[in-house]
């Protein structure tokens, strides 16, 4: 075949690769307080602008402004700050423990803490969560003990997953947090099904799910939006646009031509774009979406605009594919610092309290880790009984698995 002519294929532009200067000029911003707040029961086609604009509450001075201000009590804000700081302290420590070879793998949510924490706080305990692998804040807000999370990471004798899942693939039936899958996006339409069942049962619980913008390319994203639209399921579908997949920029998921929130109106679903690092804005938008779902006004697609400040996981090095100091130039800042600034602005927080709190949380993480390791680590200590490998494939263990279990025992002895 001759390929004489020049390729005319379009390729999405990647703003800044290693060696280039960070460039976030492509991020469409709105001023804090500038975006109107539609009625709960407004129809998606009548609020198209929400999928283009960016809902923000906190201004640069740290003031909460505009119609989306959720007017939370200071103590609620302090709880939110605490959850976000705990999430980060937890992430930082687990990252180090992976580097130290104590756990096989880890994924941080650094820079994205407001997404999970503010959203979970805006929901009810009876609402079912279908997370991705980067939503540890949900587990923390739902009160899953650090000890339980850490034992899962360690695949140790107290592991909730009985050693079957990769680290961070948590679940909690009592906490109403669904089992996390290693297969991207699969949880998105499952959440819609859960919400359909809630509606069929006449309950007013809703389901919420999270995927990354890169994963929104998977078929499951389409199935979720379509079924949510057809049955007007009480569900909140969240696309966490942290700008990067692994090495792949969000333009390769369709973000170059249009916002991810804009997919919503395409399916007749409310789509709204929010500053994902603005705790108050994220809370307000989620509260609004939850009220829509609960009152039968339909599903909502929320695009949370944030930035993956850390590596994708412990398996990659961002310096290989994006500008080194990207994160510092991210125009929406850091969610923890921004909420801290706001609390101080309204006189409900101080540098001293902040230091004390982070010290307290680091101590909590450290002591939890100490306790967790007493149940075993990858390398040392008590190990789970390998017999467990054959359980829960089916409710009752079939003949062939019983036989294989016996063979495995014989092998190990």
């Amino acid at each position: 075949m001759r390929m004489s002519k020049q390729s005319r294929l379009h390729l999405p532009r990647v703003p800044a690769r290693p060696g280039e200067a960070p460039d976030f000029s492509y991020v469409q911003l709105s001023a804090a307080g500038a975006v109107p707040r539609p009625e709960i029961n407004a129809r998606s086609r009548d609020m198209m602008s929400l999928s283009v604009d960016l809902v923000r509450v906190l201004d640069d001075a740290g003031e909460a402004v505009g119609p989306w201000n959720p007017h939370l009590d200071p103590d609620e804000l302090q709880v939110g700050l605490r959850h976000m700081m705990l999430t980060r302290a937890f992430d930082d420590r687990m990252q180090r423990m992976q580097r130290a070879g104590k756990i096989s793998f880890y994924i941080r949510s650094s820079g994205e803490e407001a997404v999970s924490v503010a959203q979970c706080m805006a929901l009810r305990p009876g609402d079912m969560l279908f997370p991705s692998y980067r939503n540890q804040g949900l587990q923390i807000v739902r009160g899953i003990a650090l000890l339980d999370l850490m034992c899962q990471l360690l695949s140790n004798t107290r592991d909730m997953c009985k050693g079957r899942q990769l680290p961070v693939m948590y679940h909690s039936k009592p906490g109403n947090v669904f089992s996390i899958s290693g297969n991207l996006a699969t949880q998105f339409p499952q959440a819609v099904g859960w919400a359909m069942a809630a509606a069929i049962k006449g309950e007013d619980h809703l389901a919420a799910s999270w995927i990354g913008e890169g994963s929104s390319a998977e078929a499951d994203f389409h199935h979720a939006l379509l079924f949510a639209s057809v049955y007007q399921a009480p569900v909140i579908l969240n696309v966490v646009n942290n700008q990067w997949a692994i090495s792949t920029f969000q333009g390769y998921a369709g973000g170059e031509q249009r916002s991810f929130a804009a997919r919503g109106p395409g399916y007749g679903i409310a789509g709204i774009r929010v500053d994902g690092n603005d705790f108050l804005a994220v809370y307000a938008v989620t509260q609004w979406a939850a009220e829509r779902a609960r009152t039968g006004a339909g599903p909502t697609l929320i695009e949370l605009v944030t930035y993956r400040a850390a590596a994708h996981s412990t398996s990659d090095d961002p310096a290989r594919y994006r500008a080194k100091d990207d994160a510092e130039h991210w125009p929406l800042g850091d969610p923890i610092l921004r909420l801290k600034k706001h609390l101080m602005k309204i006189g409900e927080w101080s540098e001293a309290r902040h230091q004390a709190l982070s010290a307290e949380l680091e101590a909590l993480v450290a002591s939890s880790w100490k306790e967790a390791t007493t149940f075993g680590t990858l390398s040392e200590g008590p190990r789970l009984n390998a017999d467990l490998m054959f359980e829960d494939v089916f409710k009752e263990m079939p003949q062939n698995l019983k036989r294989q279990q016996a063979l495995m025992r014989a092998e190990r002895s």
Partner: protein
């Protein structure tokens, strides 16, 4: 007892389960108002309402995904995939999710979803309305795989599948919907009303998964089969006056190894028959297990009778279909003195 064809028996099973358990919901393409392209759900939406018998978008992946979510929320969805040939868009949700939710959550979550789907050829469906993909799913740990061969079993197995807390893929050999079929398309069709298994208890009853049925006991050779081939095999053996022991597996996962092994140890000869393509078909696993369990008892090589390793061609349906001639040939060769 009433005379039912397989469609009526399946319909009765779903009717009874919708009536007994408010958690049971049916969902699928054209299954609601229309009652399904093969009419298996006829009348059920009218009887139980649009919220129990759901028409869905044409998206098999979305159907299975939402069924999983529903089941995690306490419902027992029975999802119809219109043809087994169209189950592939749901493959990821079935293999990566449905089959693994109990395992990966250490039993905290589970997904009692039943997937019903018509399979097999013999209705001039061409390559996209004739497939028998059951073998593929038997390789996926965590899913049960069932295929009835008659109305009585179809009803009992479907009720058991719906009540089972593990996911079940329920294959329905569409050529058997209206009557047993011995593989000869030129003979007049035989209705289920003339067959004992067409007499079906109108009430609630179960047929256990993992229990094969010896549909004919015999001494010369064991024929292991399921679905459409049960009648083809029986007819071939009868035509040859062979005293064959014929085993209808009914469920492939879990598999009734004891019944298989006991029979082959007795006869020392075995033919395995299914409609699916041969290469890496389920017959290979059956053959392997027998070889492992009954090696010293075998007096001749086990023979596999299957569809050819090609798609199911529209014009050559009967050249493709493993009819009596193919079964006879296999029986002859296993019965030849060594």
């Amino acid at each position: 007892m009433a005379s039912m064809n397989m469609i009526q028996a399946l319909n009765s099973a779903m009717d009874i389960m919708l009536g007994r358990d408010p958690a049971v919901v049916l969902m699928g393409e054209d299954i609601g108002y229309f009652g399904g392209v093969f009419r298996a759900t006829e009348g059920l939406q009218r009887k139980y309402g649009e919220h129990r018998v759901l028409d869905t978008p044409i998206a098999e992946g979305g159907i299975v995904a939402t069924a999983i979510g529903m089941s995690v929320n306490g419902l027992r969805p029975v999802a119809e995939i219109q043809f087994a040939d169209y189950i592939y868009p749901a493959f990821d949700q079935i293999c990566s999710e449905l089959a693994r939710i109990r395992y990966r959550s250490a039993g905290e979550f589970f997904a009692p979803v039943t997937i019903r789907t018509p399979c097999g050829g013999g209705i001039r469906g061409g390559q996209t309305h004739s497939q028998s993909p059951e073998g593929i799913f038997t390789h996926v740990s965590g899913i049960k795989v069932v295929m009835p061969s008659n109305p009585y079993d179809a009803k009992g197995l479907l009720i058991t599948s719906i009540e089972d807390d593990d996911p079940v893929i329920f294959f329905e050999p569409k050529r058997l919907y209206n009557g047993p079929f011995d593989g000869d398309p030129n003979k007049p069709a035989v209705p289920w009303s003339t067959h004992p298994k067409g007499q079906v208890d109108e009430g609630y009853y179960k047929v256990a998964l993992g229990k094969a049925e010896i549909v004919r006991s015999g001494s010369q050779v064991t024929i292991i089969t399921y679905g459409t081939m049960v009648y083809v095999a029986a007819a071939a053996a009868a035509a040859m006056n062979i005293d064959a022991e014929i085993i209808d597996l009914r469920s492939l996962v879990p598999l009734d190894v004891d019944t298989i092994a006991t029979s082959v140890k007795k006869t020392g000869r075995c033919v395995i028959a299914h409609e699916a393509t041969r290469f890496s078909g389920f017959g290979a696993e059956i053959l392997s297990i027998i070889q492992e369990e009954c090696f010293w008892d075998l007096e001749a090589p086990i023979q596999r009778v299957t569809g050819w390793d090609t798609p199911y061609p529209h014009a050559f349906e009967w050249e493709y279909f493993p009819g009596q001639a193919r079964v006879s040939r296999a029986l002859q060769s296993v019965l030849e003195p060594a």
